[in-house]
Each structure stands twice: as structure tokens, then as C-alpha cells.
């Protein structure tokens, strides 16, 4: 079986509440129109120049350059499910590429909305680490490539919402307790007033499946990268505190039994279901993760649970079977994968 991207394989710092951290830098090559406005020859030129620059990254490990057109649909979808490429990079694969390191925690999308989208993904809360690694990748590539940049407007991007630092830093939260006490809106609703934005698990327009929310900066002009990271870190600390408060509240004596009952019921369904959709699985796995993180449910392995959250996605399931599957078959296979994994972790715990 294919190995899952390293940032989804383990839990990281504050891993009970923060699933992962991502920093993304947009860069464009000087003198070549942005992908949407470029000709086929110009897109090819971007691919050639970028492929030649991959050697500069040697100091950071082994990197592989692959053109999207050489992958099958399933392989591309797996990369989306692991957040290594965006859903839009998967569609229309012509003249697009992705550069990945061996651990699959650094990815560079070529010819997405911008010529280059450098992404660094880390497990848990690691904003500074992710930013430092991303800027390192950027510096190494810049030794070989001329980026579109001007001193007044900064790094030039196809969309004016990214221009300047072109940095989008995101923290991926798991907020089941705030959701349970119906305070997610109150906590996250205010962030837009502070130049931040909240989205669901798979980015723009996606629902917050399994109580997973992504918090990112909106502003890229007029503040330095360090200021952006500090600002996001401040809000992250506030959200962490609120979720911790909500978790303590759920464990207070007068409602502890209700909480335990709720979490064990979800656990029971996961251990016994014969068919399950990915949405239902995400919701119940979110409950189970909470149960394990609170110490209510014993024998839970947080790493295994985190892996399950991506293994149950359609493309991952189909890759286990080595072929495309009809929806009903996926639901059956998903339920059996969950049952087996949970059984394994119980045996391991005893």
C-alpha cells in the first residue's frame, strides 16, 4: 500500500486540536504571462525552466518532478486528498506539473493559477517551521529563476488578492467541542474583521466535514511575512483556548455521562457499520478522535485515527483495491477498513 503524506501520518504539536499547518507561496516567472493568459508554448517554457531549477533543491532532500498528464485520474485525486495539490490543479492536467519531496510535505504546483505555488505542510501547529521551510525553498529556486517582483507591489500574482508577500498561511483545526456547544460561529465568525478567513477541510467552498476548519490570512500586502505569521498565531492561540474550555465543559461532572454516551455511540457505529459514506465516517471519526483525545475512550491511537481520516476518502480507498469502484462498493469497503483498523488498535492497546 502507498504511504500517506508524512504530515497526515503522525500527529504534531497540539495535535489533539490542530491537525496540520500549511504555508503557501505564489511565485511567477518574470516576462511570461500568468498561466491563464499564457500560450501553450509559454506554459511549456515555465515547465522546462522549473524542471531545470529542481536541482537547486538538493540541500532539502530528493525532489521528483512529474507532469500531471502522465498520472492517471486516481493518482491525481490522491494528491488532492492529501492536500498536496489543489482540486483545480487536478482538472485539465495539460501543461501542469507537481514537484514533490520524498516525505510528501513539500509540494510545488507548476502552472496552477500562478506559475509556481510552493507549499509546505507540517503535522500539528508549526507555523514558524512551515514558513521557514517555505521561504528556504523560495530562496533556493530564486537562485535559478527570475521571479516577477516589484519593490512597491511585491511578488506579482494572477489574482490581486495574493499580491505582495503572496503568502497564504493556514492552520487546520479540529473543533468538535466548540461545535457541540454551538459556539463555532461565535469564535470563528469574528476573524474576518481581522483580515483572516475560515474555510472547510478541502478549501474554498467545501463544507466543514468532521468539524475540521482551516484558518488563513487574507491580507498579503502591507504586512511582512513575519507579521502575518504572528497575527495568525495569536488567533490560533485564542481558538485553541476556546476549544479547550469547551472540552473541559463537556467533561464537567453533570454532563460527563452524556458526553461519554455520545462519544461511545459514535465509536459503536464505527465498530459495527457495514456501509458508511465518507461524510458520515468523517463525522463519527471526529467524535472518536475527541473521545480518544479526552481520554474518555481507551486504547485509541491518535496517529492511526489521523491516517483513517484520509484513508477513507474515495481515491485512497480505490487505490487500496487497485481499481475504480462503484459508490456502494466504496461504502462497504470503507466500513470494513474502519472496523479492521479499530480492531487492530484495540488489540494493540490490550
Amino acid at each position: 500500500m502507498r504511504e500517506i503524506a508524512s504530515w497526515m501520518r503522525r500527529t504534531g504539536p497540539m495535535g489533539d486540536i490542530v491537525l496540520g499547518t500549511r504555508c503557501r507561496l505564489a511565485r511567477n516567472l518574470a516576462g511570461i504571462p500568468f498561466p491563464e493568459a499564457a500560450t501553450r508554448e509559454q506554459l511549456r517554457e515555465v515547465l522546462t525552466k522549473t524542471a531545470a531549477a529542481v536541482a537547486e533543491l538538493e540541500a532539502l532532500g530528493t525532489f521528483t518532478y512529474r507532469e500531471m498528464a502522465t498520472m492517471d485520474a486516481l493518482e491525481r485525486e490522491i494528491l488532492v486528498e492529501e492536500h498536496l495539490i489543489s482540486p483545480s490543479h487536478m482538472q485539465n492536467p495539460a501543461h501542469k506539473a507537481v514537484i514533490l519531496n520524498a516525505e510528501h510535505n513539500i509540494s510545488i504546483m507548476v502552472n496552477e493559477e500562478d506559475h509556481l505555488r510552493i507549499q509546505v505542510l507540517k503535522p500539528g501547529l508549526q507555523l514558524n517551521e512551515a514558513w521557514e521551510r517555505a521561504t528556504e525553498v523560495d530562496d533556493l529556486l530564486e537562485q535559478h529563476l527570475d521571479f516577477a517582483f516589484d519593490l512597491q507591489t511585491g511578488y506579482l500574482t494572477a489574482c490581486p488578492t495574493n499580491v505582495g508577500t503572496a503568502l497564504r498561511a493556514s492552520v487546520m483545526f479540529h473543533l468538535p467541542a466548540l461545535q457541540r456547544v454551538k459556539k463555532v460561529q461565535e469564535v470563528l465568525g469574528a476573524v474576518s474583521k481581522f483580515g483572516l478567513t475560515v474555510r472547510g477541510l478541502y478549501g474554498e467552498g467545501s463544507d466543514a466535514w468532521g468539524n475540521v476548519y482551516q484558518l488563513s490570512n487574507q491580507i498579503t500586502l502591507g504586512q511582512s511575512e513575519d507579521e502575518t505569521i504572528e497575527h495568525l498565531a495569536r488567533f490560533t492561540a485564542q481558538i485553541l483556548y476556546s476549544e479547550q474550555q469547551a472540552r473541559e465543559y463537556l467533561l464537567e461532572q453533570e454532563r460527563r455521562l452524556t458526553t461519554e454516551d455520545w462519544l461511545y455511540r459514535s465509536y459503536g457505529i464505527l465498530q459495527n457499520a457495514r456501509m458508511i459514506t465518507s461524510q458520515e465516517a468523517m463525522e463519527l471519526l471526529s467524535d472518536l478522535k475527541l473521545g480518544v483525545d479526552l481520554g474518555v475512550i481507551e486504547h485509541g491511537d491518535p496517529d492511526l485515527l489521523k491516517q483513517l481520516m484520509v484513508q477513507i476518502r474515495s481515491a485512497h480507498l480505490q487505490s487500496i483495491m487497485g481499481q475504480p469502484l462503484p459508490v456502494q462498493e466504496r461504502d462497504r469497503l470503507r466500513a470494513s477498513l474502519i472496523r479492521e483498523t479499530l480492531q487492530k488498535q484495540i488489540t494493540k492497546g490490550e
Partner: protein, 169 residues
């Protein structure tokens, strides 16, 4: 006003239904509104972006020659950019600076980049910006009375000052 359905959350959506000439009005919270057929927030980033650009040119009397202006590198006009909300290439920023500045200020609250500078292309500016950032941190540490950390930033600053003076950067 509280939501008519759950009575718990603040109502933010007005839902009007006309059936057999009878009009019913519901005030719903965001969560409950999602359950109603035909409900859409109508939020569309593409549309929002292009509207930001449109308010720049339209409304003011813009001479036809200005609207005809195109980017020398990619050939896009301001009308093209208004339509998609996207720029064609890096030179568009220079070609349409006048039209873009108000858009950037509306989006970011600022029109000036204060972040990272590419090292190979602008070595001196990069060092100067790094020094600005270190000074900012130094002041912050002094304000918070974190003197040990402040000393670290002061040493880094001195090193960069020397580099800049020696022309090594």
C-alpha cells in the same frame, strides 16, 4: 432578531416564499437557512473581484483612450481584467497601476509591499528590509522587557549593518 426555526441563533437570512399569491416571510439563522431548498448565499469570489475593478473605471468619466490601453507584454486591457478579476502578467501591474491601486487598498488596506525581497535580484534592498524587521522585533522586545531576546536581535542587526557597509550584501 432570533431565528424563526430554531429560536436560538441570530437570524441573518430573510426567506420569502410566494405561493398562490400568499407571501410568507421567515427570518432564519445561517444554519437553518441551509436546510431550505433554493437557498444560496450568492457568494461568488470571481464576481466580487470583477466588481472591485468595475467600480474603478465606471462612474467616473473615463476617456475612451484610457479604456483602450493594453498591457505591452500580454495585450490584456483593463476591460479584460474587469471581466475576470485576474491580471494577465506581471507587467499588467505596471501598465494599470493607476486603476489597480484603489483595488489593492480596498483588498488589503495598503498598496505597499513590506515583506520579503528576492535576494539575487535586490540584494541591498533585501538586507535593508531584513534590518527593518529586526528593528521592529527589537523594539517589541524592549517594550515587553525581554532584554535577552532584544540583545540577540541587536547583534543580528549589527552584523547586517556591517555587511551593508562592506558591500558584501
Amino acid at each position: 432578531m432570533l431565528c424563526d426555526k430554531c429560536g436560538k441563533q441570530e437570524a441573518t437570512v430573510k426567506f420569502v416564499q410566494i405561493e398562490n399569491n400568499k407571501k410568507t416571510e421567515l427570518h432564519l439563522c445561517r444554519d437553518c437557512a441551509h436546510g431550505y431548498p433554493g437557498f444560496s448565499t450568492g457568494f461568488d469570489l470571481q464576481h466580487l473581484l470583477s466588481s472591485l475593478f468595475q467600480s474603478v473605471g465606471l462612474g467616473q468619466a473615463v476617456a475612451p483612450t484610457v479604456t483602450m490601453k493594453t498591457c505591452p507584454t500580454c495585450g490584456r486591457s483593463i476591460a479584460d481584467i474587469q471581466k475576470t478579476g485576474r491580471l494577465g502578467c506581471g507587467s499588467c501591474y505596471e501598465a494599470f497601476r493607476e486603476e489597480l491601486n484603489p483595488v489593492l487598498r480596498r483588498l488589503h488596506g495598503s498598496g505597499n509591499h513590506t515583506g520579503k525581497v528576492p535576494a539575487r535580484a535586490f540584494p541591498k534592498v533585501r538586507t535593508a528590509r531584513q534590518m527593518e524587521e529586526l528593528r521592529r522585533r527589537l523594539e517589541e522586545c524592549v517594550r515587553l522587557e525581554k532584554y535577552e531576546e532584544a540583545a540577540k536581535y541587536r547583534d543580528e542587526l549589527r552584523l547586517l549593518e556591517k555587511q551593508l557597509a562592506g558591500g558584501e550584501a
